[in-house]
């Protein structure tokens, strides 16, 4: 007998084959040319536009939208890429409802912003579909830069450095480049292997060597990289995950949500991926949303997000929350896990209601239990082991505004470093800016 949504336990193939294709197709269809012109026409071309200020990479949004409106989407894409070489991915994954679109004067005035993200995707898709790569390299400088991590920060740094004429080698611990773009975001946000296509496109500028399967502190060391290169950029992200710290967290089918998402992204056949009948996700961020929604799309009968504080404190935007609930995910706030029940395998999760007062979060005596075949933890990630000598701040590598660490010749950016939120777009900005500073430092006579 075949499995269904009602099959107990954690099993693959809960859905008919065609359902996987449908469920994991493009979340939002791309704009057609006419739609794009109409959407672009809504932009007021604001003076000193708030959307640009809100964009961590400071893309000249009114300009690129005007370039779309005047029938030159490729020029629009060059405007975007000149500030953000991962503008294609950012168009798909940026929480624009909390950034550019939140401050769009039309959002403020009428609750309907200019569709900046969709317009950005329109322009970048068109240019990326065409050869050749829109940027060329400056004459070779003879300088060599090592980049650790082929995620958004490392790729942005490497591209800018290559553009400026340096030779770059990127080391990454995983078998494939892309970082969280490849392993960490919901599948339907960038279908069609977009993350790898984007990396290939980015690398086509030349001058960048990719060395995958090389982790810092394992195959390569910071001291070694400093000795063999003129500069080092660290963008290895957050390798560690926070523990649940509840009794029973070592039961089978209790695992970090990021591992589930990564396994899903790398699955050749989604039907082969086991998923629980009842899935519980603990956390309040985008990772929690991505895990819960995808569990549901894989055929889980129920998927429930439990967040320990109030809804207004969830770091996942309202837009993301609505996305989850519209897919049948239930969101419970003000409850914290106190015990995972089960005999070898998780069966239930027990939560205590919480009160968020001036003295911090307190657990109330009343508890409840949720059925769970699978429990995903999405309660934050932390820095993995870091080389000695690097000053840390707030659990991250401390950097200044130019991305410089406490070690000479070492820069850092992205989720592993301080400053900004842990977003793709922030990582791109930090990688780019560090590259510019590295260039200035290396070229100083």
């Amino acid at each position: 007998m075949s499995t269904s949504q009602l099959t107990p336990g954690v099993v693959p193939g809960r859905l008919p084959a065609e359902a996987y294709c449908r469920n994991f197709a493009d979340l939002e269809a791309p704009l057609g040319p006419h739609e794009a012109r109409v959407a672009a026409d809504r932009c007021y071309f604001c003076h000193d536009a708030p959307c640009v200020t809100a964009c961590p990479t400071a893309i000249d949004i009114p300009l690129f939208i005007r370039q779309i409106a005047t029938g030159t989407p490729e020029a629009a894409a060059r405007t975007i890429f000149s500030q953000n070489i991962l503008g294609g991915m950012c168009a798909r994954v940026c929480p624009t409802e909390q950034l550019c679109e939140q401050v769009c004067v039309r959002e403020v005035a009428e609750g309907k912003p200019v569709e900046i993200a969709r317009l950005q995707r329109h322009a970048t898709d068109i240019l990326m579909a065409k050869a050749p790569h829109p940027f060329s390299r400056a004459p070779a400088t003879g300088k060599r830069v090592a980049v650790v991590g082929a995620g958004p920060a490392g790729l942005a740094a490497a591209h800018r450095l290559a553009m400026l004429g340096h030779e770059v080698t990127i080391f990454d611990a995983r078998p494939k480049p892309g970082g969280l773009n490849e392993y960490g975001i919901a599948s339907y946000k960038a279908p069609g292997d977009f993350a790898q296509q984007e990396v290939d496109w980015l690398l086509s500028i030349g001058g960048i060597t990719l060395d995958c399967g090389k982790a810092l502190g394992r195959e390569v060391t910071l001291d070694g990289l400093r000795a063999s290169h003129d500069a080092v950029f660290l963008g290895m992200g957050l390798a560690g995950v926070n523990a649940l710290r509840a009794e029973g967290e070592d039961l089978q089918h209790v695992r970090p949500a990021v591992d589930f998402i990564a396994a899903l992204r790398q699955a050749e056949d989604l039907a082969s991926l086991p998923v629980g009948r009842d899935v519980v996700v603990v956390g309040g961020g985008m990772t929690a949303i991505d895990a819960a929604v995808q569990a549901k799309l894989l055929g889980a009968e129920t998927a429930t997000i439990v967040y320990r504080r109030g809804q207004e404190k969830m770091s996942a935007s309202r837009h993301e929350q609505d996305h989850a609930t519209s897919h049948g995910v239930r969101i419970i706030c003000n409850a914290a896990p106190v015990k995972v029940h089960g005999n070898g395998t998780v069966r239930e999760v027990e939560f205590a209601y919480t009160a968020d007062g001036p003295g911090g979060l307190t657990l109330l005596p009343e508890t409840f239990r949720l059925k769970a075949d699978q429990l995903f933890t999405a309660i934050g990630q932390r820095l993995g082991d870091v080389p000695e000598g690097l000053a840390l701040a707030e659990g991250k590598i401390a950097i200044d505004a130019s991305g410089r660490t406490s070690l000479a010749g070492v820069w850092a950016g992205g989720d592993c470093a301080t400053g900004g939120e842990d977003l793709t777009v922030t990582a791109v900005a930090q990688g780019r800016d560090a590259a510019i500073d590295i260039h200035a430092a290396l070229m100083r006579p």
Partner: protein, 434 residues
């Protein structure tokens, strides 16, 4: 529901909305559909002389320009007068008029510039029972090269001569349709009046090239790689038409000459504007060609509501009401002083007013770090550019300074009415003083 009954030079129609002589009025089929839809009248597409009819191109006849969301703003055409046999048109006109006696049916005419040609066709038209004729002295393309259309309309003496022939050989009311492709619209209107015209209608289309194909290096619309100038119409031409109507209405030599207003009339409001400037009725084409005949229902309801709101008993009450307020620049009150005022509650902080004023005007808007925009009264000349570029209606308004209060820009108190004719900078005033 107000009474929209219209009487234009004795031609009665249930409302003042006529379809202009153009493609929509070329055939019985179209005109019947128009009357069924509610149009008050129709000017039948221009008839030519007996004999083989003209031919049209077999490529595109129209070109256009568009606004946001492909809203059609301007249309251009290179279609000629009717390309159907005269006898077919005459038979159809007679048939339609018989079935719609309450509607206005005027026939547009364009024949060679000799008395016999005009005399001949007038006899045919009278036989149809049509209510009047409109002399097409306006079309700027094709026919003009053959000495007709705007080739006549650009020479006042010809207008007068042909109009006189028409009045001599026909008892029908005669409307002379004017071309805007002249430097002073008053001259052809005066000529029409001298020739005995009962009314003028304007504007006909404006010479134009709607665009250029930047790959084929050819004007649009393009026919086998070539293009020619065509007649421009639609919403984009309305301001030009309004001015020309007003010029004729307030010119002493033509004041009181009935006018049928044409040029970009798209809504009831456009129609009211034309009528306020002196048009007794309006003629519509592009709007119907864009949306179909049903738009007349919006025009009827809109005009009716407006008349009810204003207490107007008849459409005649509207006609010409704004003419006394159309004046020359030299009579404008130089002591009427206003300042722009930004409603902070309505402001959405886009900063367009700031960019416009700072870059292209008088640096009279201040911007704070938190994007609050305020007018600097001491620099504001009240040019209105901020009002015009603001995307929020009524967010920026012009506030009149009361008499006696000082103008922060000049330091002088607001005085009584005074115009250029008495201004000390006027050389004529200086000369008189010496």
């Amino acid at each position: 529901m107000a009474n929209l009954q219209s009487d234009f030079i004795g031609i009665k129609s249930p409302n003042p909305f006529w379809l202009a002589s153009a493609p929509p009025t070329d055939k019985e089929y179209n005109v019947r559909r128009a009357f069924q839809a509610g149009w008050g009248g129709v000017v039948w597409k221009t008839l030519g002389s007996e004999g083989p009819p003209v031919v049209n191109v077999n490529g595109p006849r129209y070109g256009a320009i568009w606004g946001a969301d492909r809203r059609l703003l301007g249309l251009n055409n290179i279609e000629l007068i009717t390309d159907r046999p005269l006898e077919v048109n005459l038979r159809e006109i007679k048939s339609v008029k018989r079935d719609y006696p309450d509607r206005a049916l005027v026939v547009s005419l364009m024949v060679p510039c000799d008395e016999d040609s005009w005399k001949a066709i007038l006899a045919h038209v009278e036989d149809t029972g049509a209510d009047g004729v409109e002399l097409n002295f306006g079309c700027p393309h094709g026919m003009a090269e053959r000495g007709m259309g705007s080739a006549v309309g650009q020479v006042p003496e010809y207008i007068q001569m042909v109009t006189a022939w028409v009045k001599k050989h026909s008892r029908m009311p005669c409307i002379v349709k004017l071309t805007p492709n002249v430097t002073d619209i008053r001259k052809p209107a005066e000529a029409a009046r001298r020739g005995g015209a009962d009314a003028v209608s304007l504007i006909n289309t404006i010479n134009s090239i709607t665009g250029v194909d930047i790959d084929a290096f050819a004007p649009m619309p393009t026919i086998d790689g070539k293009g020619t100038h065509g007649g421009y119409c639609g919403p984009a031409v309305k301001p030009i038409a309004l001015n020309m109507v007003a010029e004729i209405a307030r010119n002493p030599a033509t004041h009181g000459l009935p006018i049928s207003g044409i040029g970009g009339v798209t809504t009831w409001r456009d129609a009211v504007e034309f009528m306020l400037l002196g048009a007794g009725n309006v003629q519509v084409c592009t709007a119907a060609m864009t949306y179909g005949f049903r738009i007349v229902q919006e025009m009827i309801s809109g005009l009716s509501d407006y008349m009810d709101a204003k207490g107007f008993a008849s459409t005649a009450d509207i006609v010409g009401r704004a003419i006394p307020n159309v004046t020359d620049w030299q009579y404008l009150n130089l002591n009427y002083i206003t300042k722009a005022q930004i409603d902070q509650d309505l402001c959405i902080k886009c900063g367009r007013c700031y960019a416009a004023c700072e870059d292209t005007s008088h640096q009279a808007i201040a911007m704070s770090p938190d994007r609050t925009f305020t007018v600097k009264d001491e620099d504001c000349v009240a040019c209105n550019l901020c009002v015009d570029v603001c995307p929020v209606e009524t967010c920026i308004t012009m506030r009149e300074l009361p008499k006696g209060t000082p103008d922060p820009r000049t330091g002088k108190p607001v005085g009584d009415y005074a115009n250029w004719l008495s201004h000390p900078n006027n050389p004529a005033v200086r000369d008189a003083a010496e």
